[in-house]
Amino acid sequence: MAIPAEKFQRAERKLTEAEAIRRPSLTFWQDVWIRLRKNWLGMGGLVVILLLAFMAIAGPWMTEYTYYQQDLGDGRNLGPSSEHWFGTDDLGRDMFVRTWYGARVSLTIGVVAALIDLVIGVLYGGISGYKGGRTDEIMMRIVDVLWGLPYLLVVILLLVVLGPGLDTIIIALTVTGWLNMARLVRGQVLQLKNQEYVMAARTLGADTKRLMKKHLIPNTMGPILVLLTYTVPNAIFAEAFLSFLGLGVQAPVASWGTMIDDALTVILTDEWWRLFFPTLFLSLTLLAFNAFGDGLRDVLDPKMRK
């Protein structure tokens, strides 16, 4: 088969096309967001968290009842209905309002405890890692010793002493809770310090801002963010656990933990809604934060970047 002569003409080269950079350059947060959007696990977690947060804020206003208003007459132990969407408890209190009020308490405990952990951890770990040498050694030995303490036992002990309450629970949870964060931050700071040698080596003309944006923040922020996400459900779980031991927030204030504890006393009866709703939303919250944390971890892992 003859090939027409014009086929043997030189073809023009389309190098621009071959050389085109396929991926546009993105900032760290843009990059994280784009990859997170594709991570259905993390996105699912995030959406559920946002919904729960919305209901925690708006839920208690959606009905005419309050979390402490009792109805000791016919209003006791009612199943879910159009009047009381989640039913009522043995004091005739509306479970819908109490569930979302409990969400406020549980989420507050989780988020505030995590944030306090973050602040203490960043300060302690940051100083330890930044100062280095002897200071670092002593500070880390202290962490090692505290590390050996059984976390929940210490919390229980503190609550026995401080007395139950929202503020004391948060204090008790953060007294040992910051250790994880401090260790992590110290590790990150050390890494950051070593990065500075790299910077020094490339000093002349090296763009610090670019280094920060492209290397330091992506590599140090990620693990901290992930740990922060995991801290929230741990604190929420701890509160529920303490409520079960009678060390949670005090009546009439509701948290999911205290509601579950109340409901367990009537588990053998048919008032399934008493246990069902607080457990459902507690589990959903733990699930959502864990899923979000997993998603975030996958997204932020530098090894995952292609």
């Binding site: 090939i3 086929k7 043997f8 003409q9 030189r10 073809a11 080269r13 190098l15 071959a18 050389e19």
Partner: protein, 342 residues
């Protein structure tokens, strides 16, 4: 196929199923390997050279990798067809393999000795003592001092060069007919590289092993190989004896490879010339010559149809449209670098 040939690959197609579609990593490769010789497969990353080599012993990760078609003749058998049980007997005993990164290729929680003996015990009915003795012998053979002591150590107690020596000991322990070396020196220091290459050559002569050497380093090729296959975009584009490829190469990609390699006789003011552009997307491979997009001599036909093989000599074949009688003469020295990249 001469009676010297011990391995003959024909029409090999290998694909990887990914979320984005089918990556056609190897698209019709023909190769053969003669007894005791060293065949180098060269090409840049993504050219399909490693996948070709790993397909021989079916070591491509599967899933997602699949051998779509083709035959790999090894003696009487077609390695693409033999049952798994038989493949386990061939791997390690008749065909050995060493890999690029000795730091990660050895099991960190098993002594080096144990990693050598387990292959021996699996393929031969060696007793424990016998296998251990053979392992010591192998370590000595690959030049590890004090093998009686070293054999009980873990990989992290070895240096990088020693680990690669240990890898070679593992691969050659059962005296295989073929050794597949997948970038065996890429991860090593330059001085260690030379030692490892010398060792491989020495052992090859002693044990009469044929070697398939995967590399992108033409220096290594010159040092080791008798024959070379140049791969690009999942295809072999030129094959020949070492001097054919180094001195009489006919394919513009091979020219590009040569020009991008530093040479001793190079004048100082001559820069190394990179090949502009990037390799083709094998999710959607080009219809014509895979190199056409980057080729300074590309013609319209190059983009449309894959060129046939041209016999340059008995030992030297090339697949390029420039060989066609109607093609204009190409000037090898028309440098690719003249194209302004930025």
């Amino acid at each position: 196929m001469t009676n010297q040939t011990i391995l003959q690959i024909e029409g090999l197609h290998v694909s990887f199923q990914t979320y984005n579609g089918e990556v056609k990593a190897v698209r019709g490769v023909d190769l053969h390997l003669d007894k005791g010789e060293t065949l180098a497969i060269v090409g840049e990353s993504g050219s399909g050279k490693s996948v070709t080599a790993q397909s021989i012993v079916r070591l491509i990760p599967s899933p997602p990798g699949v051998i779509k078609s083709g035959t790999i003749r090894f003696g009487e058998r077609d390695l693409t067809q033999v049952p798994d049980q038989e493949m386990y007997k061939i791997r390690g005993s008749e065909i050995g393999m060493i890999f690029q990164d000795p730091m990660t290729s050895l099991n960190p929680t098993m002594t080096v000795g144990r990693q050598i003996t387990e292959g021996l015990q699996w393929h031969h009915d060696f007793g424990k003592g016998e296998a251990l003795q053979k392992a010591v012998e192998m370590l000595r053979l690959v030049g590890i001092p004090n093998p009686e002591r070293r054999i009980h150590q873990y990989p992290h107690q070895y240096s990088g060069g020693m680990r690669q020596r240990a890898m070679i000991a593992i691969a050659l322990a059962c005296n295989p007919k073929i050794l597949i070396a997948d970038e065996p020196t890429t991860a090593l220091d330059v001085t260690i590289q030379a030692q490892i290459l010398d060792l491989m050559k020495e052992l090859q002569q002693k044990m009469e092993t044929a070697i398939i050497l995967i590399t992108h380093d033409l220096g290594v090729v010159a040092e080791m190989a008798q024959r070379v296959a140049v791969m690009y975009g999942g295809k072999v584009v030129e094959t020949g004896r070492v001097d054919d490829i180094f001195h009489r190469s006919r394919h513009p990609y091979t020219w590009g490879l040569m020009d991008s390699m530093p040479r001793l006789d190079q004048k100082r003011e001559d820069d190394l010339i990179p090949i502009p552009g990037s390799p083709p997307d094998l999710l959607d491979p080009p219809r014509g010559c895979p190199f056409a997009d980057r080729c300074p001599h590309a013609m319209y036909i190059c983009h449309e149809e894959m060129p046939a093989w041209t016999e340059v000599s008995d030992s030297h074949q090339v697949s390029c449209w420039l060989e066609h009688p109607d093609a204009p003469a190409a000037d090898r020295d028309e440098p690719a670098a003249r194209v302004n990249i930025r």
